[in-house]
Amino acid sequence: MKIRQISVFLENRPGRLSALCRILAEAGVNLSTLTLAETGEFGLLRLITPDPDKARQVIEQAGYAATATEVVALQVPDRPGGLASVLRVLEENKISVEYMYAFAMRAGGDAVMVFRFDDMDRAISVLQAAGVSVFKSVDLFGA
């Protein structure tokens, strides 16, 4: 149910993000989605790719600090209140969202969003029980 996200530490300086993206492009790593969280001084680039092991290897070989974390990708109905309905399930079960961001691709006309929860396993079970689609890696990237 969980998919692996790679987080990379970047100093908040011009050119740092594009340098990393260039390295990934040269290694043929396809980025499914990414997001940058930042303070004034540094940022954390979080990315989803079909081949997280390779991505991490490429990133670390290029000298960056990287870590892998598990996140979930949820199908969020693409209509007003779609996200609210998912969040309500979490709120009712007292599960906190650490962060979330949107996926570039869509599934069957609905949006796909990446979530990180304080309690990942419980989040997955309550969401599934409420009928929310939780993607497996294979659902998103094929084989």
């Binding site: 303070t39 960056y64 600090a65 870590t67 974390t69």
Partner: protein, 447 residues
Amino acid sequence: MIRNLWNDLDGTFFPESALDYMPADRLREVQLQRLRAVTTLAYERVALFRERMDAKGVKPADVQKLDDVRLLPFATKADLRDTYPYGLFAVPMSEVVRLHASSGTTGKPIVVGYTAEDMEVWKQVIMRTLYSAGYSRGDVVQNMFGYGLFTGGLGLHSGIEGIGATVIPISGGNSERQIMVMKDFGVTAVSCTPSYFIHLIEVAGKLGIDFKRDLKVKRGVFGAEPWTDQMRQYIETASGIKAYDIYGLSEIIGPGVAAECVCQTGLHVFEDHFLVEIVDPKTLEPVPDGEEGELVLTTLSKQAMPVIRYRTRDITAIEARPCACGRSIRRIRRISRRSDDMFIIRGVNVFPSQIETALLKTEANLPHYQIVLTRKSGLDRMEVRVEVTGGMLSDRLSEMEGLQRRFAHSIDQITNLHADVTLVQPGTIPRSEGKAKRVLDQRNDSV
């Protein structure tokens, strides 16, 4: 130009300063006599010196001429730390009238003691320091060195009173009040760290006070941290005062080991009380006069805590040529750097190993780090750059900010200093020969 003997201000004779002009051969006699006495005292009363001398097979009686000091073992800051608090004292505590302490490397300070006689000697060398810089009775001296366990404040204090000048024991801090006192009390001379005085010049400017027009300050003695000729030029040009370098360290006595005269060409060592050697910090062999090396000091008259061949880690050179002031006591050059990587920030001695200990408290695998020292408006800033590794990394910003705070907190606990911790990407701290340069001191790049 040779100035009149025993004459610091034209027409005035200061008996204390007469020793500065002692004929050189007589001075060497006094030194040898005192070296033999202090070696005997240390051997008989201090276990550490006795054990070290026995291990080398040296007895106090082997010291027959001044050069025989080279037979004696060295002492280091670690010896003071290892014998904390009173292990190097040579007299019973009933003879000790004063204790001071300075920061150590592991959280425990280094403790030094003085007998009543030591206090008198200390006062005398400070008086000689002040006379060298042209201070005299009638001066109103604002002493901005810290009072307390630090030797700076109280050390200068006794000498200022000793010469009959008026002392304002204001200690450091509260810059606007310092300027107010300087103006309202008609201060004519000051003493503090050079960086603090530069800060005061800026503060005065902001308050609309012109040092040259609105204040009566004519001279200052500055020390407790290394400084440069550029800083002196800035101080003298911006404030119109004469700025003199003074040198000392708690382990030896505090301020009062060496001081500049009005010629401002090196610091005269009060050689009748302190024996100077300059050695190669690697081989520990003596270097010729004029060549740079590590300053090694032996106290010649201290009773409470004699220290033999103390490795100061300060790099300087002996200037053996006679000074135009006529003093016979020799000069050392302005301290240019240290042989270890200790640095001094806001008057506090810091070793990179302390920063290392602090980082290790938070992160079990020591990350690459660099300490960057900068100065703005006379205020020193310590930045600690830490390279983030995969093991330290979290996908959560709040955890990364927490890591930054924990690093800063441990540094504060160990050094009592605030550090700005910056997280940087791996490999961004420059390494020379594979080893990171731990301290980047950019404070003298600007004033």
